[in-house]
C-alpha cells in the first residue's frame, strides 16, 4: 500500500511550508520590539540619571537638530557623506569575509595625506582637489593594505592588526601635526601652540550647493553614486560574485579558482581606500571644522561608519539611510546643549540601536537552526 513510499517527514514542521506572511510578520515584530527596547533604555537613562530634562524633550530636540529646524538637514547630509563612504568600504571587506575594524585609523591617515598634498601642490583648483582626494584614497588603502598583506602572507589575524594600526595612525598624524615639515601650519595666523594644519585654499574645497536654505557639500552625491556602484559591482558582476563567494566559503571559492590572496588583499585595499576618501571628504567638505586638520580629526566618524555598515547588514543601498540616521543623531545632539542634557546621550542611543539591530538576525538564525535540528533529529 502506501507504505511503499516512505514519508520523509514526521510531525516536525516542514521547512518550506511556513507561510511567508507569518515569517515576515515575525521579522517585523522582532525588529520593532528591539528598536522599542533600545530607545526605551536610552529614555530611562535620561529620566533617572539626569535631572535636566525628560526623554520626550530629548527626542524632540534631537529630531529638531537633525532635520526639522531650518538648515539642519543640509548639515546632516554633510556629516552623512563620510559615514556613508566608510560604511561602503566596510561592506566590501565584510562581504569578502574580512573583519576590518580600523576604519578610524585609515580615515585619519587619508585625511593626513590629503592635507599634506592639498596644502603643498600647485595647479588649478579642481584638479588639485581631485589629486588630493586620490592621494587620500591611496593613503587609506595602503594603511589597510598592510593589514591585508600580513593576513595573507603571515596569517596574522586582520582584526587585531587593523585595530592596532588604528592606534598607530592616530599617533602618527598627531606627530605630523606637531612638525612644521609635515602638517603643522606656519606660525603666523595660528594661535601659539595650537596644533592645526593650514586651511585648504578656497578653490580646493568641495563645492557646496544650497536647496531650500539647506547647504551641503557635493560629497554626499559622490557617496550615493558610489553606493550604487558598490551595490552593482557586488551584486551583478563576476568580481563581486567571487568576493562574496570568498566571504561565504573559502574552500568553495578556492576550488572554483578564486585567488584568495588577490581578492582578499584587494578587498582590504578598497575598504581602506573608502575610509581614506572619507577622510579627504571630511577635510574638503567643510562640515568638520575650517577645512583644516586638527587633533582627533576622526571624531568617531570611522566607528560610526563601521557600525552603520553593520546595522545595514552589508547592503549598500540600505546603508545610505542608516548613514543619514547616524548623522542625524550627531547633528541632533548638537542642539542638546541648550537643554542641559549631555550630548553624549546621542552616543548611547547609537550604541543601543546597533546592539538592538544585531539581535533580530541572530535570534532568527538560531531559531532556524533549532528548527532544522528538530526536523533532522525527528527523522532519525
Amino acid at each position: 500500500m502506501s507504505n511503499l513510499v516512505e514519508t520523509p517527514h514526521s510531525d516536525a514542521e516542514p521547512l518550506g511550508e511556513r507561510s511567508k506572511m507569518a515569517s515576515v510578520s515575525e521579522v517585523v515584530t522582532l525588529y520593532a520590539i528591539c528598536l522599542f527596547v533600545a530607545l526605551a533604555l536610552a529614555a530611562v537613562l535620561v529620566e533617572f540619571a539626569s535631572d535636566k530634562g525628560s526623554w520626550t524633550t530629548v527626542y524632540t530636540v534631537i529630531l529638531d537638530g537633525a532635520v526639522r529646524k531650518p538648515g539642519r538637514w543640509g548639515l546632516t547630509l554633510g556629516i552623512a557623506a563620510p559615514i556613508l563612504l566608510v560604511g561602503l568600504g566596510t561592506i566590501v571587506s565584510g562581504r569578502a569575509g574580512l573583519v576590518n575594524i580600523g576604519q578610524e585609523g585609515q580615515l585619519v591617515i587619508g585625511a593626513g595625506v590629503a592635507t599634506y598634498v592639498g596644502t603643498r601642490i600647485g595647479g588649478p583648483g579642481p584638479l588639485a582637489l581631485v589629486v588630493m582626494l586620490a592621494c587620500g584614497v591611496v593613503g587609506g588603502a595602503l594603511w589597510a593594505g598592510i593589514a591585508g598583506a600580513l593576513r595573507f602572507w603571515r596569517s596574522v589575524p586582520e582584526v587585531l592588526t587593523t585595530l592596532l594600526m588604528g592606534a598607530i595612525a592616530a599617533n602618527l598624524v598627531g606627530w605630523g601635526l606637531r612638525n612644521r615639515f609635515l602638517l603643522l601650519a606656519p606660525p603666523e595666523g595660528r594661535a601659539n601652540r595650537n596644533q592645526v594644519s593650514e586651511s585648504l585654499a578656497t578653490d580646493r574645497r568641495i563645492p557646496r550647493v544650497e536647496i531650500f536654505g539647506n547647504e551641503f557639500p557635493l560629497s554626499i552625491v559622490l557617496g550615493i553614486a558610489l553606493a550604487i556602484i558598490v551595490w552593482l559591482v557586488l551584486g551583478r558582476t563576476v568580481v563581486g560574485f567571487r568576493l562574496r563567494m570568498l566571504g561565504r566559503n573559502v574552500r568553495t571559492a578556492h576550488r572554483s579558482g578564486v585567488n584568495e590572496k588577490r581578492y582578499g588583499i584587494g578587498a582590504m585595499l578598497v575598504s581602506g581606500g573608502f575610509a581614506g576618501l572619507a577622510g579627504g571628504v571630511m577635510l574638503a567638505g567643510g562640515d568638520f571644522g575650517d577645512y583644516q586638520l586638527v587633533a582627533n580629526f576622526g571624531a568617531g566618524i570611522g566607528f560610526a561608519g563601521l557600525l552603520a555598515a553593520l546595522v545595514a547588514r552589508q547592503r549598500a543601498l540600505l546603508l545610505v539611510f542608516i548613514a543619514f540616521l547616524f548623522a542625524g543623531l550627531r547633528t541632533g545632539s548638537g542642539f542638546l546643549r541648550a537643554t542641559g542634557v549631555s550630548a553624549r546621550i546621542a552616543d548611547v542611543v547609537q550604541g543601543t540601536l546597533v546592539l538592538a539591530m544585531l539581535l533580530p538576525p541572530a535570534i532568527l538564525y538560531m531559531r532556524a537552526r533549532r528548527r532544522v535540528i528538530a526536523a533532522t533529529s525527528a527523522r532519525t
Partner: protein, 311 residues
C-alpha cells in the same frame, strides 16, 4: 654616543620610572589575565575597554558610599554586567564577537560620559602601603612594594589564574573547547556555556582593573581614564603567545614603555616624541605577530563561534 648612554643610564636608574611602569602594568595584568582565559576558550574579547571603563565608574561611585572594598566589588559587578551582554550575544545568539565588543566599547563610553556629565562622582586615591624590608630592594623594591595598597591585589590573582587554567578540571575544559569545540561538545562539554563563563571571569577582572586604576592612578574619574589600555591588554596576550608567562612579560614591557612618556620629559630629556612611545605597544605587537605568527600556535578555534552541527 657617550652622552646618549649616560642619558639612558639616567633614565633606567630612575625609581619613579619603575613605579609608574608598575601602576600601568598592573592594570594591564588584571585585564590580560582575564583575556587570556577567554582567548584560551576561543574568544577574542575586545570589549575589555568597556568592562574596565564601567568598572572604573562603578568604583568611583562606590567609594563614596561603601569605601574602597565596596567600590571594588561594585567595579567587579559593573564589569560583569558588560560581560553578560558580550557573552550572551556572542555565545548564546552567535552574533559576531568583534562587532558586539566594538559596539559595547562605544556604548559604555557613551553611557559613562553621559552619567559623568550629569553628576560627577567624588572619589580619591587610596593610601600607599609600604611593605617593610621588601620595599628596600634597590630600584624595583619601591615599584613592587611601596605602592597604593590596591596594587597588591594582583599578586594573588596571577597565580590563581595559572592554577585555574592549568590545574583544575574547569581549566582543562576551557583549554579543550578553545582547541576543538566539536570534539569537546561530543564528549559532553557545554562549549558555549564554558565560553560564557570565561567571559564573566574576564568581566569581573576587568572591572576590578578599572577600579584599581582609578584608586591607584588619578583618583578622579574621567571618561578618558582607560584610554585604549584595553586594546593594549589584548595586544599583551597576543604578544605573549597565549601563555601566562608571556602575557605577564608583555604587560610589564608595555607598562614600562608607557611610563617612559612620563619619565623622560620629567628628567629633562627631549629625545623622542611621545606619539612614538604611545604607538610602541601596537608596533611591537604587530611586529611580534608578523615574526612569530607561524611559529606560535594560537588556540585552534580562536574567534570561531561554536554552533552545534556547523563546522
Amino acid at each position: 654616543m657617550g652622552n646618549f648612554l649616560s642619558a639612558l643610564a639616567d633614565i633606567f636608574s630612575n625609581e619613579s620610572l619603575y613605579r609608574n611602569a608598575m601602576i600601568v602594568a598592573v592594570v594591564l595584568l588584571f585585564a590580560a589575565s582575564g583575556e587570556l582565559v577567554a582567548e584560551k576558550a576561543g574568544t577574542i574579547n575586545i570589549s575589555l575597554e568597556a568592562m574596565m571603563l564601567a568598572g572604573a565608574y562603578a568604583a568611583a561611585v562606590g567609594q563614596g558610599r561603601f569605601g574602597v572594598w565596596g567600590g571594588l566589588l561594585m567595579a567587579a559587578a559593573a564589569g560583569l554586567v558588560v560581560s553578560a551582554v558580550q557573552a550572551n550575544m556572542s555565545h548564546r545568539l552567535a552574533a559576531d564577537q568583534f562587532v558586539v565588543g566594538l559596539v559595547l566599547n562605544v556604548l559604555v563610553l557613551g553611557i559613562v560620559g553621559f552619567l559623568v556629565g550629569s553628576n560627577e562622582p567624588a572619589s580619591h586615591v587610596v593610601d600607599r602601603l609600604k611593605v617593610p624590608v621588601l620595599s628596600d630592594i634597590p630600584l624595583v623594591g619601591p615599584a613592587l612594594f611601596d605602592q597604593p595598597w590596591v596594587l597588591y591585589l594582583i599578586y594573588p590573582v596571577v597565580p590563581a589564574i595559572w592554577f585555574l587554567l592549568y590545574r583544575t578540571r574547569w581549566g582543562l575544559e576551557v583549554r579543550a573547547i578553545g582547541e576543538d569545540p566539536n570534539a569537546s561538545d561530543v564528549s559532553g562539554l557545554s562549549v558555549n556555556k564554558l565560553r560564557r563563563q570565561t567571559i564573566y571571569l574576564t568581566g569581573m577582572l576587568c572591572g576590578v582593573a578599572g577600579g584599581y586604576f582609578l584608586y591607584a592612578r588619578s583618583g578622579r574619574f574621567e571618561d578618558s581614564l582607560i584610554g585604549g589600555r584595553g586594546y593594549i591588554a589584548i595586544a599583551a596576550v597576543i604578544f605573549g603567545g597565549w601563555t601566562l608567562k608571556g602575557s605577564v612579560a608583555g604587560c610589564l614591557i608595555f607598562g614600562l614603555v608607557g611610563s617612559f612618556v612620563l619619565t623622560i620629559p620629567s628628567l629633562g630629556y627631549q629625545a623622542i616624541d611621545p606619539a612614538f612611545l604611545a604607538m610602541a605597544p601596537s608596533v611591537v605587537t604587530i611586529a611580534a605577530m608578523t615574526i612569530f605568527a607561524k611559529r606560535v600556535r594560537q588556540p585552534a578555534a580562536l574567534a570561531r563561534p561554536f554552533i552545534r552541527g556547523l563546522k
